[in-house]
Symmetry: C2
DNA sequence: GGCACTGTATTAGTTGACTAATACAGTTGG
DNA sequence: CCAACTGTATTAGTCAACTAATACAGTGCC
């Protein structure tokens, strides 16, 4: 598995797991219906308690990124978190605002902000393989 | 003062203060050398302990947004957090990535991401009054 | 000097986040 | 049906974050 955690990092283990799986899904490295490692399996691999992994999976389920079937396993959701278009934009806007406030306070110019955004977006879209796009 | 906190919100009070002051500085509502309300004054206004405000001011000082003079008060820093261009970009990139991962997982298209970004950036640049730009 | 304001330091209590141990419950395939 | 796998629930311990009470220390102005 591609997941790595750093216990000495101050961001909690379960959040590190959440973040990495979210990224993998966003980038298309994980596709809908793909199985995730079992709670125990991943727990052993990362040398943490199964409940810690379960906690990560729970958060991901609540956010609609994955779904679980008791006794069967955990899988990536089909795309489409149920959330209104407005709601989604609100969430995104908040995150972008936070990023831009940071950038401005660091003394960046409008141009530099735009360029950085373009570069990041470009990289992410390229990473999504053609098949994963347009779901 | 323009600051408002919500104690029932799960994001800690001192962080709410930090975020709002950062935003105010980024938007130009607070300019370099502007005095901030005293620790006690703001504490009374928000009905919190002075130490809570002091904690917020400490964080802001560490980040270089404000500076303090013992006995005199707290003021907005002159622009320019000492940080290399590369370092600044790294920070910004991380925040933008997080935002975009979220957007993609919510099912947004490249176009929608770009549009939202443009809208947010536009709004923020407009809010900065002409005099505050280009410092 | 003294009063009234600044920020600072110390200490301490409460709460919740985080992780873990361990036992429970559903699914699947032989 | 049973063995071996899934996720789940309960309980509990540890630790750090957060806030507060209160006393200390520097500055400035009369």
């Amino acid at each position: 598995m591609f997941i790595k955690v750093d216990p000495s990092n101050d961001v909690p283990i379960f959040r590190q797991i959440v973040q990495q799986i979210k990224t993998a899904v966003a980038m298309g490295r994980l596709e809908p219906e793909d199985p995730l490692p079992s709670v125990r399996q991943l727990a052993v691999e990362l040398a943490v308690n199964p409940n810690t992994v379960a906690r990560a999976y729970l958060d991901l389920e609540i956010e609609g990124v994955i779904y679980k079937r008791q006794g069967a396993g955990t899988f990536v959701s089909g795309r489409g978190v149920e959330m209104s278009k407005n709601e989604r934009r609100r969430v995104l806007r908040e995150l972008l605002e936070k990023a831009l406030v940071e950038g401005l306070n660091l003394g960046m110019e409008e141009k530099e902000l735009r360029e950085t955004f373009e570069r990041v977006l470009e990289k992410m879209m390229q990473a999504r393989t053609p098949e994963t796009v347009g779901r």
